[in-house]
Symmetry: C2
Subunit: 307 residues, 2 copies
């Protein structure tokens, strides 16, 4: 999906909501796990997801399954993950699918992860951890219409341990007098990598049809936790145009209003995730309807910020 | 496995070799993939691993499957991974099994990953990425006999992008006059987390049987690339007693002699990984024998450093 298509979806649906499919068998309604006990062909993870997706699809523009929840069930979990991605892809082709995997390894191994997520599973984006640097990240770039969502400033308490570390040296030509923080360096350097890869892609494509780099529809996005408040303003100075994936609204305590005030740009530029507050809003047979209502409430709040 | 048991195995086998099971279907001998095409019950990934394990087990003390290679094959890959872990566990119970997963997420999600790897799959150690800080790492601590192997200074080129970033402020009571580097902060802070968790565990155990923290047999290890040469000396100042998992000897160009000179401690303190140079040493029907010979050669080099 290109950035333009993503923005079109946001405008049309008046929503920048991503529903986090953190499906935990200990939290899904008991009638689903009961049924799975009686019928071994019944996949309670996938069936939960399917009901949630059908109910929330009109109100969101993205889904984000977190791999941890699927890996927890081994082979059965992987099957449920694959089925979920396929279901969204076929039934709701305008949804942006994010594999929340936080992968990252040496170049050759990252290349393999990229192939798995973009070619085999065909998701639109993967979250990637930046600690191992350039060759761990760039293999995820360079797939047309696919996106790397790099961890920058996360929503958890531990984000303060390393991400806010201030460097001794200033970046060349920096206006500010304080040292560059680790998350700022991640955003700055990863944009250099992005530029290099996209220029190469555009050059290759250009020799055929003269398309501009922007048309490649691929590149970086960043994870910035909703709990980071005014840090969004700093991030927008560094990355004015990039989309930000924002977890932490709702259960983790971040404010949608603050995120929009500091983080929104002319093309919205935000994908705000909510998981628990939507998918576990109810544990009865009406769980999907209630999830749909919750998603609709968030969508209506979002519409006000999009005007 | 406790640190003492690991050291006993190293002494007995005169080896601190870890064989990396980076099993790639495009690189395994063709007779295996051919057989898989004819017989759909034949699992070429697992069968390759089993042959490699049987041939190398006398010469190594650990196996490290990298999850990327298994995820690349979806459900089939996960089945091969689970079978491989089970095979090693049952057939060679003295082998230390490392899931090279480089996971790390917000607290609740890391807890889930920890449960998957330590309770469901029953590996001895998981590699973890530190970017998200304390609550992303500590859920992996606190399992008796299980280990977190935290990325500190990796073997790839990209390790220079962020891991060597120097902080503006010195750590309290620091002797050195230069700023603390990110990988140094990772090692320092994670040892604080380790201490807190182990003291809690020892307190709980102590109220029953008075065991000392060391007896818990759990905690941190660090990934330090063999390509980092004299940085091992700096790391040993920060973490004199911890085991280091060292990738990058062989194909990536690191020197075993340098690693041993700067990195070895009184209990060896090193687990040196080799993947491609051993498992893909030969692509004929004799591949396993050749892998065994290669592992034996490395073991003999290692024995000289253990004397």
């Amino acid at each position: 999906m290109t950035r333009q298509q993503l923005f079109e979806n946001i405008r049309r649906k008046q929503s920048f909501l991503c529903v986090g499919l953190d499906t935990d068998l200990r939290k899904v309604p008991v009638h689903l796990t009961d049924k799975a006990r009686r019928d071994k062909n019944f996949d309670p993870i996938f069936e939960f997801n399917r009901a949630i997706i059908d109910a929330t699809a009109p109100y969101c523009i993205a889904y984000k399954p977190n791999l941890a929840f699927y890996e927890a069930h081994g082979v059965m979990g992987w099957m449920a993950f694959e089925k979920t991605v396929k279901y969204i892809r076929q039934r709701y082709p305008d949804q942006f699918i994010i594999a929340d995997a936080k992968r990252g390894d040496i170049g050759n191994t990252s290349k393999l992860y990229a192939r798995t997520f973009f070619e085999e599973l065909d998701v639109d984006a993967v979250t990637v951890a930046p600690y191992m640097g350039e060759d761990s990240v760039t293999p995820f770039l360079g797939y047309k219409g696919k996106w790397v969502i790099l961890l920058a400033l996360t929503s958890n308490k531990g984000s303060h341990d390393f991400q806010l570390m201030e460097a001794q040296t200033l970046p060349a030509g920096a206006a500010q007098q304080t040292g560059e923080k680790l998350f700022e360096r991640v955003i700055r350097k990863s944009q250099e990598w992005e530029r290099t890869v996209l220029e190469t892609m555009a050059g290759e494509a250009g020799s055929e049809n003269g398309s501009a780099p922007a048309a490649v529809g691929s590149g970086m996005m960043y994870v910035v936790g909703a709990t980071q408040g005014s840090a969004f303003a700093d991030i927008r100075r560094l990355a004015p145009d990039h989309f930000l994936l924002v977890p932490g609204v709702g259960a983790q305590g971040g404010s949608l209003e603050e995120v929009c005030r500091y983080g929104m740009n002319a093309q919205c530029g935000l994908i705000v995730n909510s998981s628990r507050a939507i998918i576990y809003a109810d544990a009865t047979e009406q769980f999907a309807d209630v999830a749909g209502q919750k998603a609709r409430e968030v969508q209506q709040q979002m519409a006000a910020f999009l005007r």
